[in-house]
């Protein structure tokens, strides 16, 4: 899939995943997206981490770092602010998808 298509919806994907799965780490998010979409959508690290850092900066995500043997792992989870933003984001996404459907398949409308 063209990564440009994914760019605008990456934040929504991340927040939705964290809302459904609780805390997750960066690599786990990329693997989960691959698994759920049957390898159709592959989130690149170059897109994932800037998004995670931006959402953390905005207070949408909380972070906790824990030791996992000989290295540390950063776990992301959704904050209260993130939960309230998710509802709006999902509604926007649904409206966008419906509009795209109308544009691409006008006969169905």
């Amino acid at each position: 899939m063209n990564p440009k298509l994914l760019r605008g919806s990456l934040d929504t994907i991340i927040i939705k995943l964290l809302n459904d799965n609780g805390e997750m780490y960066g690599y786990e998010i990329t693997q989960k997206v691959k698994e759920l979409t049957g390898d159709t959508i592959k989130i690149t690290e170059g897109a994932l981490y800037p998004s995670l850092h931006k959402l953390e900066g905005k207070g949408v995500l909380a972070v906790e770092t824990r030791s996992i043997g000989n290295r540390y792992r950063k776990y992301y989870s959704i904050t209260k602010q993130g939960k309230s933003e998710l509802a709006t984001m999902l509604e926007d996404m649904k409206a966008y998808m419906q509009s795209m459907e109308l544009l691409l398949n006008p006969k169905l409308a």
Partner: protein, 230 residues
């Protein structure tokens, strides 16, 4: 399959060689690469570690320097939000009552102290010394490692940077009052100086109490590998 201590250290070195100098940023990238390598080592155990590492770097698909820049921006925004958010809380109920009291005290102080040029000069000097004290207090003993951690760099930029600016403004106001123009007789000077002193007082209080607490809490939760000197 878990990677050995030496292999993890080698990934750290490789990440640093790619231009990622902040230790806190390195940790996240290293964990990502290590997870990728561990998975691929399970599926292809016959391949050497270095080849797995090279593959993981290729799959990472990111310009590391760009990644650091976006992290810097996000971290700066994070500390701006935290510090300015705390100051803003002094302008909402019930803290605004305290802010008004500080403002009235500052106004009275400005009028009384401003009458004497000598006292104005002394106040300006005290502010300078106090500003320097806060500058060192905020460092919490991490002067040597400040440049190695992005979190410390951004914390300093948003606390010391602002403190230096605040004391500069306060000193200018005090110094101006010490000349022959006698600004103290003008209403705009009293208002400006009082507002600057009020915000300066709140900022100093936050620098001595809340901001270091915010940093220590963040370090405990997000950077357990970072130890401060005191």
């Amino acid at each position: 399959m878990h990677l050995s201590e030496n292999q993890i250290q080698w990934i750290f070195t490789s990440v640093q060689n790619k231009g990622v100098n902040y230790i806190d940023v390195q940790h996240e990238i290293v964990d990502h690469l290590a997870s990728e390598i561990e998975l691929s080592m399970e599926t292809c155990p016959e391949i050497y570690f270095q080849e797995h590492l090279d593959n993981a770097f290729s799959a990472f698909d990111s310009d590391f320097k760009k990644l650091v820049r976006t992290k810097e921006k996000a971290m700066n925004k994070y500390w701006q939000k935290k510090t300015l958010g705390y100051i803003k809380s002094y302008f909402t109920f019930p803290k605004i009552i305290l802010t008004i009291l500080i403002f009235l005290t500052c106004s009275l102080g400005t009028i009384l102290v401003g009458k004497s040029i000598l006292i104005s000069f002394v106040i300006a000097s005290i502010l300078l010394v106090f500003g320097t004290f806060i500058h060192y207090y905020l460092r919490l003993g991490f002067t040597d490692i400040e440049h190695k951690y992005l979190v410390l760099k951004m914390y300093m930029a948003n606390t010391i940077g602002m403190t230096t600016f605040a004391f500069f403004i306060l000193n200018i106001l005090e110094m101006f009052n010490s000349n022959e123009i006698k600004l103290i007789d003008q209403h705009w000077y009293i208002y400006t100086a009082s507002i600057a002193l009020t915000i300066g007082t709140i900022w100093c209080h936050a620098c001595l109490t809340e901001f270091p607490r915010m940093l220590i809490k963040d370090i405990k939760e997000k950077y357990p590998y970072l130890t401060l000197a005191n």
